[in-house]
Symmetry: C2
Subunit: 431 residues, 2 copies
């Protein structure tokens, strides 16, 4: 029988990180780079603004012409041209004249200030304006490079691209950008009892007695997307499949990380351990001191591909993924690998004690009224339970607690791992 | 000249919500439903588990056979069959016998409890096991429907689908699900000075003097994706375009909401107001008492399509989108429409005062050490500035403050609107 050496969660995670690698870079159209990670520093090839320009609809003037202007003795200037944005001429502005200029248009040669439309009186007949206050050179002029200087580093390697970053790349004319190519993660569910829920209806309904729909692969697909990686969901493998080793090896060839669910335990038909042995993979760990998911396996092939053997139990599969596969994805993408955690107020007692670390599916939210995070478990706490994945947006981490201790009581602070980062502050919670 | 009636931000938002509509539903493959909104309640067509099953690798037994079992006087049972998961036979378990059973396999007829593998002593020669403690009926049996009962409502209309919800849909064999079809939002940048940053290189470089790359459309595309809507980016329209009205109308026909940037102000070439008049759209508002973005326009066509005229200034465009278009998307998707906000500690003084509400691009994070949210502005606070969109994940809301007041000082609490919900708790912030 397979030798299993028990490891702590932290030891297992450190072992993964020690062998982790950073992903290769890839050039993509900037437009498609949202939520990706910049692979190398980006500098501005040109300044923004690219030229001195007007931030308002108004009149370009020579500030020197306005030094005597006042409400009672306005200065009159002759309008000689109109410049829409995108237009310019080589007209050089003469004394006592002005150019009507729209937001974004270049400052004409000779002009050094802009008076906004609302601040002048315009005589359309005479084509003149009256200016009621003196301007200083530079007033209402957006200077070339004042926003972003040429050669300035605008994005650092490792930065995650949001809407603002995409806008800046576009403004600089950087139509392409180098991102870190996310890992491709293959998913294989193993189990003779499993039916693909998306197979042709004829193949999947009615469900034969003793069978069930595979839900772990689907859940993993969604989790992989959440953390910015790509997934391939491979066909389900039966435990009795004669070519199971060849098939697993074939799946592995198409991805950077292969995640299997089921078949990793101590049952007669758990074939993952033997397959890993057959391909001479280095098993980093195959037993972790936690619940659920204690039989989680991580292995590294000789080609530095990863294999994770997760439990077939939905919650154990979820926990194994979050604790071990997620940090590997983060390391690949050069992001912080520790889980994001908060200390939250527990909303109810937890009676169950456990000699090992437990990770319980939970619902976390930020409560503005209490100025605190609050958490509750999200349903039936059995490792086979699916319903507790509904509404689950966090994992409650319960350190070992001896048997027959008093329950962990409502109001205690507990550590919570965030798994759905966008879901904690709701409009209602903030009032 | 166009009449502009000033409105408060809240009045403008309420006006939008009063006219808002909920989107139509659409049937999609469940696998593709991540982050979408369920259109109607989903009930379980079958129970989970679908049959009484074993949660462990072990032996199915008759509890009555084990009543006398103890460490010193174990009960011996004859192993008669092996059931992998997915397998069953119509064998009915007789007294003093057991069936070797794998995790997930159905409980055989006649059996009413399971002893885990680790708790028995197995004699492979004799095909017997020894049981060392009494079991009660139901021990280690996952009961049919204990996780999800048949006809139970598993997802409520309006619920956002996460990984757990997708897993439950899969487990129930619900290969398709009705979601609310997100609105299709068209984007048109207007401005003669604008160049598409993704156009063929020959068309876009070198940038002619007086021109600039369109970045607002690209930013809006990313914001629209963030809030779960779909976007179509239309070609840039020149202000001088003779067919501009026809072209805008043609764009409008392809979407539910059309967002224009630029051309909404008081300049000579601002054509959006006149176009709205020509199609007899009902202008809900065209001036809002805020900065930046005071000239934001919202209008409703006679076919109940929406048009937003946002400023061409990057920050005004961002603010106008977040304050007015986002709530409309949320209403369409039946989600809470108020912005998610927190009270955060300001990390620096803000000297600038303003007679109107100001929305300043900012960087917000949750600081575990202080057990508080902390915020700082994210760069140059000029409405034309792009660099302050970098790192921006929130909008600092500053209520009106009379001129020449002392600065808003570091340490004050300020209201902050969250715009990048996933970005506030980082692993480092939690230590």
């Amino acid at each position: 029988m397979l030798h299993r050496k028990m490891m702590t969660v932290e030891q297992a995670r450190q072992l993964i990180l020690r062998h982790s690698q950073v992903g290769p870079s890839k050039r993509v159209q900037s437009e498609a780079s949202l939520d990706h990670v910049i692979a190398r520093d980006c500098t501005a090839p040109s300044p923004i603004p690219g030229f001195d320009r007007s931030p308002y609809d108004g009149y370009a003037v020579r500030a020197a012409d306005t030094t005597q202007a006042s409400r009672s003795a306005p200065v009159q200037l002759q309008e000689v041209e109109t410049w829409p944005a995108g237009y310019w001429s080589d007209h050089s502005l003469q004394a006592q004249t002005c150019i009507r200029i729209m937001t974004g248009a270049p400052i004409p040669d000779g002009a050094d200030a802009v008076v906004p439309l609302e601040q002048v009186q315009h005589d359309p007949q005479l084509q003149t304006i009256q200016v009621f206050r003196p301007l200083s050179p530079g007033d209402n002029v957006s200077r070339k490079g004042e926003d972003i200087a040429v050669e300035q580093t605008v994005l650092r390697a490792g930065h995650v691209i949001g809407a603002g970053e995409i806008a800046v790349l576009a403004a600089l004319g950087l139509s392409h950008v180098d991102i870190i190519q996310p890992p491709i993660i293959g998913i294989v569910a193993t189990g003779t009892e499993l039916i693909d829920p998306y197979a042709d209806k004829a193949l999947r309904a009615p469900l034969p007695y003793g069978s069930l729909y595979d839900s772990n692969s689907i859940m993993l697909q969604a989790r992989i997307a959440r953390w910015g990686a790509q997934s391939i969901r491979f066909p389900i493998l039966s435990d009795q499949e004669p070519d199971i080793y060849e098939k697993l090896t074939h799946c592995l060839q198409q991805c950077d990380i292969l995640v299997t669910t089921g078949g990793a335990s101590v049952g007669d038909f758990d074939r993952i351990p033997a397959w890993l042995q057959s391909i001479k993979a280095q098993v980093l760990f195959n037993k972790v001191n936690m619940r659920p998911g204690s039989v989680t396996t991580a292995a590294l092939t000789r080609d530095r591909q990863w294999v994770f053997g997760l439990s077939g139990n939905p919650s154990a599969c979820y926990v194994g993924f979050e604790l071990f596969v997620r940090p590997l994805i983060q390391a690949w993408l050069t992001q912080p690998t520790a889980p994001a955690t908060v200390q939250a107020v527990l909303l109810h007692d937890i009676a169950k004690s456990s000699p090992v670390h437990r990770y319980v599916r939970a619902r976390l939210r930020y409560c503005a009224v209490r100025n605190n995070w609050v958490v509750q478990t999200s349903g039936l706490d059995k490792s086979g339970a699916l319903s507790s994945l509904l509404n689950c947006n966090a994992l409650l981490h319960l350190p070992p607690r001896p048997l027959h201790q008093p329950p962990l009581s409502a109001g205690s602070f507990v550590e919570v791992i965030l798994t759905e980062p966008g879901s904690y502050v709701s409009p209602s919670a903030s009032t």
